[in-house]
Symmetry: C2
Subunit: 331 residues, 2 copies
């Protein structure tokens, strides 16, 4: 069944099943906000053939990933999700089942974090395009920004990096990693298709940092890669960093299937792991890493100089400057 077979009203009826009935149907969604809170807002646009493709990721996981990316941005600011809106452009020949599967994947992810789709728009376009806007609330004094990092603070990655990139490789080149077990294979593919935004980390911050007068933390998510996140935070804060390549949390299995250089490349530049990269005083960083577990690690230290060095505490490789230019470029 194609979109043109059911028309705009038919499509809207299907999509409204994914939204709370008491909110949709007016010119705007209306969400009650709590006092003394700020509103955090993030938008992502996804284009068929550019950001998702049936070749690697069916509609269900494309929807999951779209939701996860936005929730990850909220997590990166320390914000708890309130709701999302979804604008959808489809062609008359788009299969209705594709749209339903996309919304199923999106709401599956959103429901894990108690986040409703409160509104949106549906339009016609030759290219399937989805724009998601997510909003969350964050206490004014607990907002996590990129520009707050200070020299001397430790740099934390909340989980392994490179797994999503390896999962993508398995989907693109099935001959890759043929000596992997089914379980390892599936877990890397799942890391790519079904990433988990790290909203679970927020209560851990609040527990560790809650008693302090000042909320000493800076950070962002690693959606565009671990190297990108470190560089962006350093730039925004006017500092530098020393990253220790031996401390980067990579999947254990990488040592069996990848050269050291390739493993490092995917960990730093692979992207889409949707972990958080956080700068905070080292005692708190240590506590945070212990409480999160699951691959969370201190990967380096912030410095006064604005250079960002990739160092090697094992002494094998020379120090090199960490560059941004390996990240994803849109044009």
């Amino acid at each position: 069944m194609k979109v043109k077979d059911i028309g705009e009203q038919g499509l809207l009826r299907i999509l409204q099943k994914f939204c709370p009935a008491e909110i949709v149907g007016d010119d705007c969604a209306v969400v009650l906000t709590n006092p003394n809170q700020s509103l955090a807002i993030t938008t992502d646009m996804l284009v068929d053939g550019v950001h998702f493709s049936d070749r690697t990721t069916g509609p269900y996981y494309a929807g999951w990933r779209a939701a996860a990316a936005n929730l990850s941005d909220l997590a990166a600011m320390g914000a708890t999700p309130l709701a999302v809106t979804v604008a959808l452009a489809v062609a008359p020949d788009t299969a209705v089942e594709w749209v339903e599967e996309f919304y199923r994947g999106m709401t599956a992810c959103l429901q894990e974090y108690h986040t409703p789709i409160v509104g949106g728009d549906v339009v016609r376009s030759p290219v399937v395009t989805v724009a998601i806007t997510a909003f969350g609330q964050v206490e004014r004094d607990r907002t996590i920004c990129r520009s707050n990092a200070r020299s001397g603070w430790a740099i934390v990655a909340t989980g392994v990096h490179g797994a999503s990139r390896a999962g993508l490789e398995l989907l693109l080149n099935p001959e890759f990693g043929q000596n992997l077990t089914e379980v390892d294979r599936a877990s890397l593919i799942l890391a790519h298709q079904c990433p988990k935004p790290r909203l679970d980390v927020l209560p851990v911050f609040w527990e560790i940092l809650g008693c302090e007068g000042e909320f000493s933390i800076a950070g962002m998510d690693s959606s565009d890669g671990l190297a990108d996140a470190i560089i962006q935070i350093c730039r925004a804060s006017g500092i530098g960093a020393k990253i220790d390549r031996t401390k980067l949390p990579i999947p254990d299995i990488f040592s069996e299937i990848l050269s050291t250089e390739k493993a490092l490349d995917w960990a730093l530049y692979g992207g889409e792991d949707f972990e958080l990269v956080l700068f905070l005083p080292s005692a708190n960083a240590q506590l945070l890493v212990e409480k999160i577990g699951n691959g969370a690690a201190i990967v380096g230290i912030a410095t006064d100089s604005t250079d960002i060095w990739l160092t090697d505490s094992s002494g094998i490789y020379p120090d090199t400057i960490l560059k941004l230019d390996r990240g994803f470029q849109h044009f």
Copy 2:
């Protein structure tokens, strides 16, 4: 100069000039909300060749219209705008000047209503696509919904309808309306290219309705046409209406350039006038129309029966049922 000539970073540098520097640059925009307020959220997606076209509307006015449509949705809920986010998809060959003009038009409209662009996304796509999400705040007890209308209330249109459709006709068919003066011509084209969201009407509601215990009003905007708005509100409220065709506010000039039937058709189904359609007790409706002026009119009355009749108080035309099926269909 094409987008591919300046790359993603170059494009972002240009677009950030349209945003407040202290807000953009993190994973989310953060906006402080006031206590005891609800958040109203609306999203529109616009696709090149579907929703705008250089044939009728250059990028400046395409941007203005996109902003106006979203602010109009906020006005329709009684919400005061806080901020918008803009997701933009462009092709590598899109002219940078097109993008800048679009943002110039968008911010010109937004600035009239003190609304900043606080964030967004920029991606690649074969088809230029823009998704705008607007946020406003509204006191919980002053939210204007479609479903609150009651039988016996008067139906108000806040201004003339059909002007935008006539302006579009002038752009599509320059030979149309050749006996128009330059001033009339320009004013109809401006109605199409440069519509004003009726946020100015909100303080008038509050003045009229402020002293009452209950906020007795229902409404929406007429972006999809006056007939559509009346029908949507009646459906949502489980009531009907009698609309008087002699009371519909149409541009004076229509009598010189259009048949009575064509003028009625454009007034009811033309769309994109971005006025408000409001149902409220008739004494308040009378006050509202007097205070707004500029073509605002009581066009009919809400009834118990769920039928929606187009009547003629001059007695020339027979009563007919008002239908939705002339409105814009996306597929």
